[in-house]
Amino acid sequence: MSQQTELPELDSVGVLRYAWRQLTSMRTALILLLLLGVASIPGSLAPQRTQNPIQVGQYFKDSPELARWMDRFYLFDVYGSPWFSAIYILLFISLIGCVLPRTIEHFHAARAFPPATPKNLSRMEHHSTWTANGTELDAARAWFKSKRFRVLEKDGSISAEKGFTRETGNLFFHLALILVLLGISFSSLFGMRGEAIINVGERFVNTPTSYDTLTYGKLYKDSNLPAFMLTVDKFDAQYNLETSAPEDYTLNVSLLRDGKTVVEENVIKVNSPMTIGSTRIYLQANGYSPVVTVRDSKGDVAFQGPVPFLPQDLNLRSIGAIKVPDAVPQIGFVGSFVPTYVRDVNGGGALSAFPKALDPRLLLAAWAGDLGLDSGVPQSVYRIDTSKMLQVGLKSLKPGEIFDYPGGSITFEGYIQWVNLNFVADPGKKFALLGGIVAILGLLASLFTRRRRIWIRVESQVEVAGLAKNDAPGLDVEMEQFVRMLKGEK
């Protein structure tokens, strides 16, 4: 009975062992490595949801059939797809299966003595022999010691070995890659990433509702958000007068931490984010918010405040929408803001000549009707669905000017700037960085260390020979030096 139950078990163990051996073989690892490279290619050709959601949406609009098929193969989420994950998980299992036994083996080998001098040295490479004068063994011992060889001395012969750093470096390199992967996984569990558009002068309180977009790692909770309040004090942008290209952005903020009364002044620039605990705050984008006041026919204020507009080009021609759902009927303005107004000679519309607000204009189309905000379909804050609305007027406004349309008026009070801040908690990145540094050091050690053995046997004749592992170059030169030293030549 027992035999009958054991046999299939042995079999499956055998199969598993076979599979494990195949997976951890060098050939498989190499194929997986190349496969990983090939698998990353589609992600650079098709737009990815994580980087370019708008372009992905465009794909679905232009050719929905093709896009659906591409989506079925995760071509818009290549780096999070099951097949991409499968490749790198298999690769890393293969790597671990390969590196761990080698680490143990190397640990033992590093403490062992080098193998004894072979009987027949004349069969080895770099062999030479001459008549002994008796001092060679001592000289060789001192030479090996000064060059930090590991030696085994036995019966008038020395076997010396050097270059263990090669394997040590190699193992550290591969272990470091595992550390990088662990760092990345750690961040995806405990990390956080959020974005918020804040007008200059406004406050940002760090709670989930303050964000425009917010994504958590799988184990990150609302309560992990550090408590602080940020006030955007001042934003300054410098532009090149000839090309309109931005040259410098400086953002001044003041920070009030939880439980503190002292306000800290801080400067955020593009390459120098602000750090609060494990959260870093990055300046990602900026633009203009026209400030408007909307009044109804009785002159009561229906809406007042800045409305962020989205920049469309290098000169910050910006588009946006002002929605007044409280008016009866509802009023919406489709607008475009130009910081430095010039007439478009081709279309007759407005263009911007420079990104700084030298001669700002607000161009508005007023719509009355149903804004569709109650339909439940999420809407862009920069666009208005005008399908159930009627256009009631068009106007171009300078700051301070008023546009009267049937049923009310809108005043263009002026403009302020807004900044888009990224809030990122990436607790695994220090492990990834450490992994990267160790990987380079390990790589250098393994690529530039030569592992070799040198033997000497002294009887009536001196006999020396050497062996270089992995075809490492330079042993011929070293053997020459060794022999000259033994013969007492310089």
């Binding site: 060098m26 190499l30 490279g37 650079s44 593009v270 120098s272 990602q284 690529l447």
Partner: protein, 296 residues
């Protein structure tokens, strides 16, 4: 003032191109003389003449390198920053790095047989740079204002130069291997190193520069963390840098661990190098993403 420097830079680049053209001609003459097979097969070729021309060619290469170096430096002065802000500047610096890698290797190995290829590819790169890629000298956009620009881009450009050289040698290996498999080498190819030396040389160049390339990618990641809020985002440039890294890692494994030599190793080397070139050409010009600084 910055305009004067920009003009000086342009003149220096044009002069460098003229000198590279002379180097190319000298190399062409050298090769042509060496190819001329004597009718009397018992005689070997007289290399004295070709040697003289080869020396002139190398001198021209050195002069071209110096002029190009000065051109790159003055371009940097004119813009008040390191000259790595757009594709024109990447190209002239890349050509400089390639010549530098060739001249550096020349100190140790006689690679003058490669001079014809090196000079023509540098000429083509510079020619494309001044005609298609040229943009006026201008300051950097805020995202590029970082000390990491110097570290990340310089190591990437040096890696580029050395990878290219390794590629050219691997290609020479494949060509000569094909010639040898059909019979003896032609007369001019006889002074070229043995297949074994070529094989070793292209491996050593890759092994030498692979850690530098790794460093360049990591430096880029550190910079991306401070500029964009993430150290790795699968931006097309990042993706292709990763692919190049993986391809060269595979090449080194194939050689060191499995023991690939010769033809197979050379093909893998060429494949890895082509991913680098693809990254430079395709992603810079047609690609999307955050690394779009080509200025085109």
């Amino acid at each position: 003032m910055s305009r004067t420097w920009a003009f000086a830079s342009n003149y220096l680049i044009y002069s460098a191109m003229a000198v590279y053209t002379l180097a190319f001609l000298a190399h062409a003459i050298e090769t042509a003389w060496a190819v001329k097979v004597p009718n009397d097969t018992t005689k070997t070729l007289d290399y004295k003449r070709t040697e003289k021309v080869a020396r002139i060619a190398t001198a021209m290469m050195v002069l071209g390198f110096i002029l190009l170096f000065a051109g790159v430096i003055t371009r940097g002065i004119s813009a008040g920053r390191v000259p790595w802000g757009n594709m024109y500047e990447f190209s002239i610096t890349g050509a400089l790095a390639f010549t530098g890698a060739y001249l550096g290797a020349l100190r140790k190995y006689d690679l003058r047989w490669l001079g014809l290829l090196v000079s023509i590819s540098v000429l083509l790169t510079l020619g494309t740079a001044v005609t298609v890629l040229y943009v006026p000298s201008a300051p950097l956009v805020p995202a590029l204002k970082s000390p990491w620009l110097v570290i990340h881009v310089s190591t990437a450009i040096i890696s580029c130069g050395v990878f290219l050289l390794a590629n050219v040698i691997a290609a020479a290996y494949l060509y000569l291997d094909k010639v040898e498999s059909k019979g003896e080498r032609t007369a001019w190819a006889k002074r070229l190193p043995s297949l074994e030396v070529l094989d070793q040389l292209s491996y050593r160049l890759v092994a030498f520069v692979f850690p530098l390339w790794t460093f360049s990618v990591i430096a880029g990641a550190i910079w991306a963390e401070s500029a964009w809020g993430r150290y790795w985002g699968w931006d097309p440039k990042e993706t292709w840098a990763f692919i190049t890294w993986v391809a060269y890692a595979a090449y080194l494994h194939a050689r060191v661990t499995i023991g690939w030599r010769g033809r197979r190793a050379a093909w893998l080397c060429l494949f890895a190098g082509s991913t680098f070139l693809f990254n430079y050409v395709y992603v810079n010009i047609w690609g999307t993403g955050k690394h779009t600084y080509s200025g085109l």
